[in-house]
Symmetry: C2
């Protein structure tokens, strides 16, 4: 297929743009798993090389205590506005591998989509920026200075990005930050994200007896840590889907009726949503719609649970330990550290004295809001309208990009969240995909954005 765009250079180079992305997708840069350490490094080197090829003045791989950050810049005129592009080259773990129709690190095209881990989150979306930059360089149309900061630890909490940002404030000076790590409502309804949820992620360990026991010899007399963990998790929510952690909702910003009515106007079909997921019904906090539940309300989910014998067949064990990974999505003005503490206190308080409980915080991030009145948003709206033929709808998204709050705090800069993913992309799941249309249209929209941003900035 060839995607039509307003920029001939992009149309002429589509195949190469895809080939290069495929090369990047073949590198299993899973940041959460030590065994992929060398691949993460390889992905960083790939990005640096492609920035140089695309025409940056300088590019470097910056070491951190964890995975490196790739930095590159093209300064055409200090008097012109500067755009700081943020993205990440690391990906989520790909397991369970057996559920992938084609292997996660062998990108494949089906139904005009690219199937691979990271195709949408965030390699595909991040790489659009490098190809948009190349397009402007090759067509002599770059109207702003550009800086790239592409990290390798987004999927594990961006632990070292804060240190790097703090230490490089001068280098990172810019007028705005542009991030493509979000989605649009649909290809018929382009949209721009103006709200993001924060995140608290913890791992809990419940210990009963000091060793695995025979459930026949001890069952009935010794507390089973799996049963206890189930009970403790159950106690975190009531029957109305309301989270029971004391103080949890205290700082939640309640939307005005007018805001809620505006949200309700977003195109959304509950029937289609249920059918797509093959569920008989949705479930969430009583008194809120599905769009509100995923956009403006905090959540509590168990992301993983394990304990006892989970192999083939049967084993009559009364296990010593049970574990869970638990995350909470946060909304303005909840604070990640405060919520982690509230959860920990409450979780420990509901534990019976027959077990020992340990809570280990993984990583957190703050919720964020983006103003629709900024020059960046206005320029983005013009670019979307020019490329897609429709004005974008401002939306709130459920996912978390904790670095948005970080950039605001450390660099004093607002982020523009112009991503082009779709719900069906199944990011973080098996068979993650990214539409070829979205990839190419994204490159076009980003290229057009620079033009409008320079014009609007000059007019101010």
């Amino acid at each position: 297929m060839s995607v039509k765009t307003k920029i001939p250079y992009i149309e002429q180079n589509q195949q190469r743009f895809l080939d290069e992305l495929f090369e990047l997708l073949r590198i299993p840069s899973v940041s959460a798993d030590k065994k992929f350490r060398d691949d993460v490094k390889k992905a960083a080197e790939f990005i640096k090389a492609k920035l140089v090829e695309a025409g940056v003045d300088k590019a470097e791989i910056c070491r951190t205590a964890g995975h490196p950050i790739v930095y590159g810049e093209k300064i055409i005129d200090p008097a012109l506005p500067t755009v700081l592009v943020y993205g990440h080259y690391d990906v989520q773990p790909a397991d369970p591998y057996e559920l992938w129709e084609t292997p996660p690190f062998e990108p494949t095209i089906r139904n005009e989509k690219i199937y691979a881990r990271g195709s949408a989150d965030d390699k595909g979306q991040m790489y659009m920026h490098i190809k948009a930059f190349e397009t402007m360089m090759q067509t002599n149309s770059l109207t702003c200075n550009v800086k790239f900061m592409i990290e390798g630890e987004e999927e594990v909490g961006s632990n070292n990005l804060g240190i790097f940002t703090e230490a490089n404030k001068e280098k990172l000076k810019a007028d705005m930050i542009m991030i493509s790590d979000t989605g649009i409502i649909s290809n018929e309804h382009p949209s721009i994200t103006v709200g993001l949820r924060g995140l608290t992620y913890v791992e809990v360990e419940v210990t009963g007896p000091n060793r695995d026991l025979h459930s026949g010899m001890y069952g009935g007399a010794v507390e089973n840590p799996i049963n206890v963990l189930c009970e403790m998790i159950h106690k975190m929510k009531d029957e109305n889907g309301h989270i029971t952690i004391p103080g949890f909702y205290d700082k939640v910003v309640e939307l005005s009726n007018a805001d809620r009515e505006a949200m309700a106007k977003q195109p959304f079909s509950l029937e289609k949503y249920k059918k797509d997921l093959d569920i008989a019904d949705v479930f969430g906090e009583k008194g809120f719609s599905t769009i509100e539940r995923t956009g403006i309300r905090p959540t509590f989910d168990v992301n993983g649970i394990w304990g006892g014998y989970i192999g083939e067949g049967a084993k009559t064990v009364l296990p010593s330990k049970a574990y869970a990974k638990i995350s909470m999505r946060l909304v303005p003005n909840q604070n990640s550290d405060e919520i982690t503490k509230m959860f920990t206190d409450y979780f420990l308080s509901v534990a019976p004295k027959t077990v020992k409980v340990k809570v280990t915080p993984h990583h957190g991030g703050e919720p964020a809001m983006v103003s629709t009145k900024s020059t960046a948003y206005q320029a983005a709206a013009l670019a979307v309208e020019e490329a897609w033929g429709k004005a974008p709808i401002p939306t709130r998204e459920g996912g978390s990009i904790p670095i948005v709050a970080l950039f605001q705090k450390v660099l004093g800069l607002d982020s523009l969240l112009m991503g082009f993913g779709l719900d069906e992309d199944a990011i973080h799941s098996p068979n993650e995909s990214y539409g070829i249309f979205n990839y190419i249209k994204g490159i076009e929209t980003i290229t057009l954005f620079y033009k409008h941003f320079a014009t609007l900035s000059k007019a101010k």
Copy 2:
């Protein structure tokens, strides 16, 4: 060490008896896991060879739809009583391997105990019978006919043993069945098991959305199957440790006060029990003691649970599925099939309509009682008293040996449960062990049993 016995042959051959057992323990005959299939076969061949060496008239490996059954017999005089020895050569899976101090299939002696998977359950205990038989053959003192039936599927529910027993009623004709797959209270308090719990074992699967989802995009609006599974498990028991499945206790035989008082006289220290397990307190059904909870009351335990992301680091997934392995120990007169159905009905009834639930029964077994008035029990009591210097205490054990009920039904024979394991043996756990003292003393006790059984049988 050398264990003193009343039979010189046993003392003289202790080292060889240990060496042969070690050879058997080195074969990882895990019946639950397909990848050990060849090892299971190897263990069967080992048993057959050792029966022949010990002096049976014939020995054979009998094929079944699963793992084979080893059969052997020595008929000295059809007029004499016949003892049918049952045991199993398969073992539980050994994972988690990393918790073993020495590898599970490399038997090692520490603190006068043999550490290895199967050392107590049941290779060590089963092999005592072959060595007791050898002793009687070599010392010309065999006073009964002997038949051996050693199976390879005990740890996976003995699915094919029933078929085999049914098809070989004539061949298996005997006066009693002798099984060593239970324990004694302590080496200072020898005991014989007179009651066994039954078992129901199921696997449950809870399905929410049809694929793993990003918890940021869907969290809060789509029911999380792990949260649901936790809630459903929680609903199976109330705060008094009472199982809430309707009808669950209907057929439970309540013990008389006299019986309960007799049980309370068993030597038992709750402080030692808690210290040994490193727990602040025990937990179980309100109104019953620890000995009662593990002996005469039914239980509900989750033996394994899993779902979502359980690897290193963090993954913000809202999983499609969550699973658990659940078992219930049964007491007279509960019935395994009935309880499986009650559980299934209730479990399905507490599921919200936002998920799909599947229950797969694994295997079950009926609870059993052994009379203290039988010739076999009386002969065993005399043998224990002669070997250990103390009369045995009749006890009820929490574990399940479903084949006891099967033998009663198909062969019309009572089983004598004369095992010599200890609680500390940690069967089904990492670092399973079996005392050298118990192994040698067991061989002696079994040998003495034959003498008393022949004498008492003749006197009748």
